[in-house]
């Protein structure tokens, strides 16, 4: 008999995992929507966020300072990648972009293995967020709740900026029609770089926050990249709302799947994706920011 408490624990864990995936998928979706670039190195920034985070927590001895520094460092790395590698490829074919970003992902994974080794490293939860609380009898680690809160807050902030601010309307305009937006007086390459760097920063943030839960190891990059790609495909390419709900669905599916049908957990995801692609090839949500 499966207890209600266990179900609730798995549900909350799944939601926290889903929100981390959402932060990753949101960047992937935004970058694709705006630049028409499928960034296969997006998961690498998640992994690197974890590795650099673990190193910096050791040096700075503060979880929060390390979080801030990690996001800034990885964002800077993203800026270099955008300006030096991606920009010359914007008007080339998808295949060229895929080859470049896939190659970059392989290099970053090997580089990570060379620097940090293959061992799974973990990050200690900060003092303030240790321990667990009881919710309706279910025992839930405080850190998972913090991840839930951070994910919801960031998601809401992202939605607000995109839908309610002028910056957001410029970005949505760029997603819909690059040329028209340039002809209205906006410097598209600068906006592209901004969106790319922001997406990378979100990935690094998610990778850092995930480190205490998932651990960090070479291979994590492709593992989360595939989940993020599934989310973006099922949610509808370029739909942030779609990415949000599908991330939660996938997080919870994974959590329950691993608890109750470990052999079928991954299979269930692909089954959902195949079904969506067959029945609604454009994804569950129409492309439309947000």
């Amino acid at each position: 008999m499966i207890s209600f408490e266990a179900l609730l624990t798995h549900l909350l864990n799944g939601l926290a995992y889903g929100l981390l995936l959402f932060l990753l998928a949101a960047g992937l979706s935004l970058i694709f929507g705006m630049m028409d670039v499928i960034n296969l190195s997006h998961g690498s920034f998640f992994m690197i966020g974890g590795f650099i985070g673990i190193g910096l927590v050791g040096v700075l001895e503060s979880f929060w300072l390390a979080l801030l520094a990690t996001v800034l460092i990885v964002a800077l790395l993203g800026l270099v990648v955008e300006v030096a590698l991606l920009r010359p490829l914007y008007y080339r074919s998808h295949l060229d972009q895929i080859l470049l970003t896939f190659g970059l992902a392989l290099i970053l994974e090997d580089g990570a293995e060379w620097i940090w080794g293959t061992r799974i490293q973990s990050l200690r939860v900060p003092e303030a967020l240790t321990g667990s609380v009881e919710i309706f009898g279910a025992v839930v680690p405080v850190y998972r709740l913090a991840v839930l809160a951070a994910g919801v807050l960031l998601g809401a902030a992202l939605w607000y900026v995109l839908e309610r601010t002028r910056l957001g309307s410029i970005i949505r305009a760029g997603v819909a029609d690059r040329e028209m937006t340039a002809a209205l007086g906006f410097n598209i390459p600068v906006i592209f770089a901004g969106v790319f760097v922001f997406g990378v920063a979100l990935a690094a943030f998610a990778g850092f926050m995930a480190a205490p839960i998932l651990g960090v190891y070479p291979g994590l990059d492709f593992q989360v990249l595939i989940l993020a790609l599934i989310i973006v495909v099922i949610g509808g390419l370029g739909s942030l709302t779609g990415a949000f709900w599908v991330s939660l669905l996938i997080g919870v599916t994974q959590s329950f799947g691993q608890a109750y049908f470990p052999a079928a957990a991954a299979f269930i995801l692909y089954l959902i994706m195949a079904a969506v692609l067959l029945l609604r090839p454009e994804g569950l949500f129409k492309r439309r920011y947000a």
Partner: protein, 229 residues
């Protein structure tokens, strides 16, 4: 205001503009006419910087701009109403009107709503919920919002019902009275002749005829020969 000197442009290997020269004076309304596929839209794209010029010079307010990126040309005071209207399906009417960067001038949101009452009514609707005529009004209004000194319009009557074509004509008359310089590409000859001061006719990538609009209105032979009317 605007001058093109021997402008050449290519799409891939095809040589679309083969030496276009034309000028639009301050406060002048100039129509660029010609059959389909003679390079009218490409001329507009070359002026706005959406296609690069392989040879020749484009002067805007006496400054060469052929090497400037599109956004800088827009900020110098060029407004574009593109072919197909360029309406964002995912932005509301109001968002699209607030989008253009602030260049001081008379076209405030209130002014725009006074000229286009329908846009005030529809301000909360997304671009893809508008009719073709409403989209065209929005495209013109959005271009005006950047307070341009030169307005480029590419086929504003395309795909519109006769009633709406008439409305576009009235709007263009209104705008003309604001002393704006306008370059108008148009297939609808009577609309073009009703607002233009002067016309150029293009054929196969070059300007083949230039005359006052009133003169072309009388010259049925030229209309027939170059426009196939």
């Amino acid at each position: 205001m605007l001058e093109l000197r021997d402008v050449h442009a290519h799409y891939g290997s095809s040589h679309i503009l083969q030496g276009v020269s034309l000028r639009v004076g301050a406060g002048e309304v100039v129509a660029l006419l010609g059959r389909n596929g003679v390079g009218k839209t490409t001329t507009i794209r070359a002026i706005t910087g959406l296609i690069s010029v392989s040879r020749g010079e484009i002067l805007f307010k006496d400054t060469p701009i052929q090497d400037e990126p599109p956004y800088r040309r827009a900020r110098m005071g060029m407004g574009l109403v593109p072919q197909g209207r360029g309406i964002y399906p995912n932005l509301s009417v109001r968002e699209q009107l607030l989008l253009p960067p602030d260049r001081n001038g008379r076209w405030s949101l209130q002014e725009i709503y006074a000229l286009f009452p329908i846009l005030r009514e529809r301000r909360r609707h997304a671009g893809d919920q508008l009719s073709g005529g409403e989209q065209q009004m929005l495209a013109i209004a959005r271009a005006l919002r950047s307070n341009p000194e030169l307005l480029l319009l590419d086929e504003p009557s395309e795909g519109l019902a006769p009633m709406m074509v008439k409305r576009v004509g009235e709007v263009l008359q209104d705008i003309k009275r604001q002393e704006l310089s306008i370059l108008l590409v148009e297939q609808n000859l009577s609309l073009a002749l009703s607002v233009a001061d002067r016309v150029y006719i293009m054929n196969k990538g070059v300007i083949v005829h230039e005359c006052p609009a009133a003169e072309l209105a009388q010259d049925e032979e030229t209309q027939h020969r170059l426009l196939g009317v």
